[in-house]
């Protein structure tokens, strides 16, 4: 696998009381890579996401990132979520968490928050610098909306969009933070076949044109196998396998824990 390591976890452990939701998991992700995490419900996939993005502070182990634009290895475990986003790790949520009573454009503009700096004083004075910054935010956000084909809804409230559009908007909002990796929690869940194919094209475009790595969780095997270059399988908080889609399909451990004997993929 070519490219630099961009995310590394070392013996990452997350314990809730007596339950080890994640049990010393080592994961390495590379630049511009599309990787997936699969596993049965309760395997610790979303917990892993929450640890990487700082929603949880891991009880053991460390997480490092290496932003390819800066090329400096940094420890991020223990940092607050907003700082981790600022360092270039964006995410979406399993159950859509849009800002429902804000317009579509404003949702994306929020994503620019960490890349702009106007404070209270400049908001009130609205000096030239602030106006310029505001214009840059709007332009950048409009550009992203153009790319995800949501431009026609820009002044709609986010809650009025269809389910598929909301999922896309959530990805667009994450893209606005200028990440080097984006973590998608079940992006294809609840989508029909056509929408899933559109999403696959969209994610490939993210990778090809924007050079952003993707780590995703999904239960749609067709989607995962087609899209990913690497698949990580988790069960009971442990990583049980890692490899290319074809390797994973053959892996007896994975078949036993998750895919099932009879499944034809």
């Amino acid at each position: 696998m070519a490219g630099n390591k961009i995310v590394e976890t070392e013996k990452l452990t997350m314990q809730f009381g007596g339950l080890k939701a994640i049990d010393s998991v080592d994961i390495t992700l590379y630049e511009k890579e599309v990787a997936s995490i699969i596993g049965p419900n309760g395997a610790g996939k979303t917990t892993l996401f929450n640890c990487i993005t700082g929603m949880y502070v891991p009880t053991g182990g460390t997480i490092f990132i290496n932003n390819p634009n800066k090329n400096k290895k940094e420890k991020i475990s223990g940092l607050k979520p907003n700082l981790i986003t600022r360092k270039g790790v964006a995410r979406t949520f399993q159950n859509i968490r849009l800002f429902k009573n804000m317009t579509v454009l404003e949702n994306v503009m929020i994503g620019r928050h960490s890349r702009s700096e106007a404070g209270i004083l400049s908001a009130i004075l609205r000096n030239k610098r602030t106006r310029l910054e505001e214009k840059r935010i709007v332009d950048y956000s409009l550009d992203i909306l153009n790319r995800v084909n949501l431009i026609k809804f820009k002044n709609e409230f986010a809650k009025n969009l269809s389910y598929g559009d909301q999922k896309r908007l959530e990805i667009a909002r994450a893209m606005a933070t200028e990440p080097f990796i984006i973590l998608l929690d079940e992006p294809a869940a609840g989508m029909n076949l056509k929408e899933t194919y559109e999403l696959m094209d969209f994610l490939r475009e993210i990778k090809e044109h924007w050079h952003i790595a993707i780590l995703l969780i999904d239960h749609d095997m067709h989607f995962v196998m087609n899209l990913s270059e690497k698949i990580i399988v988790m069960d009971y908080g442990k990583k049980i396998a890692e490899g290319t889609p074809s390797e994973i399909k053959e892996n007896p451990l994975v078949i036993k824990a998750y895919l099932g004997e009879e499944t034809a993929i």
Partner: protein, 394 residues
Amino acid sequence: MKKNILNSFNHIKHSIIISLWFMFLTFPIIVIKVQPYEKKILWRWDNMILVGVCVFFLSFLWRFYSNSEKEITIPKLRFFESDKFKKISLFFLFVFSLLFPFIFSNYQINIMTTAIMYVVLGLGLNIVVGLAGLLDLGYVAFYAIGAYSYALLNYYFGIGFWLSLPIAAILAALAGVILGFPVLRLRGDYLAIVTLGFGEIIRLVLENWDKFSFGPSGISQISRPSFFGVELSPDLSVTYIYFITLLLVVFTIFMVNRLQNSRIGRAWLALREDEIACQAMGIDKTRTKLRAFALGATWAGMVGVIFAAKTTFINPACFTFMESAIILSIVVLGGMGSIFGVVLGAFILILLPEYLRELGNYRMLAFGASMVLIMVFRPQGLISNIRKIYTEEK
């Protein structure tokens, strides 16, 4: 045609049932009157008929309008939303507010000043509750801090109104941050309880700290604002304070309008909508919350100074929970997050009870009824949250 008649017949039937039901419900309070000294019971049957007829007509009207509403309202709304209408009405409002003190009596000016003060308070609380979504039931504490800052600074050091205004604003903002820190992790009901407690703490401290704040007897003879060093007569002061308050409200609307469509304002909205997603978008939750508390409190501090200067006497009883509740009602009634809504809400909530004084004992009843009616018909507030429309310019 036949259907129409049938429909109106149905309306009449329903209205009759409702009026009968109301007559039954109000029977004990409207009809029976016990006179304990004469040991007599008065049966006021005429009241019952009055209630029945009134309710019948109200109910009928309601039914009639709620059925034909759709066709009537659309063209009207379009006119009200046009820019031309906005500009014209703003201009008239401006001229009217400037001429107001020269047309009306001091009593009217005083009421209007109070209403405008509540507009500013409402706009301040709107930052915390409407924009940032933090339910603050102790907002009156900042109001009290502002008023007491001026009263005490004036009493101990003889500091004037204009210097006290920024000092009180800063002190209130500091108090906002002090309240903000312990409640950073709290949300919803829990936050409401803690802020409620905070409001009471401030009031109780002021009430019991005799040596510092003179306890329940309060502070009197607070000086009125001076006009470039000239002391004004009480009569002129009323007009003067009216204009100061007017200036403050214009200033506030200007600031809040700029804030709510800025990076900070959007962060507040995001915080209100979803705290977790907001953090995932790179927004510092702590700073955003503290900013909301501090900025919201600033306005209350400034209005507090004006209040102290206006009444020239304050005591802790001016700053009970009731005040917080009224300010919160202004925000909720007007529409959370909408400036125009808050202005409208403040005028309704403050002016209505004043002008309903004619009704005597029924004043609060009518007030309550109008609030219930507004909430029935507009549960989202009078003016619902409208967001800025961005147009593409390339």
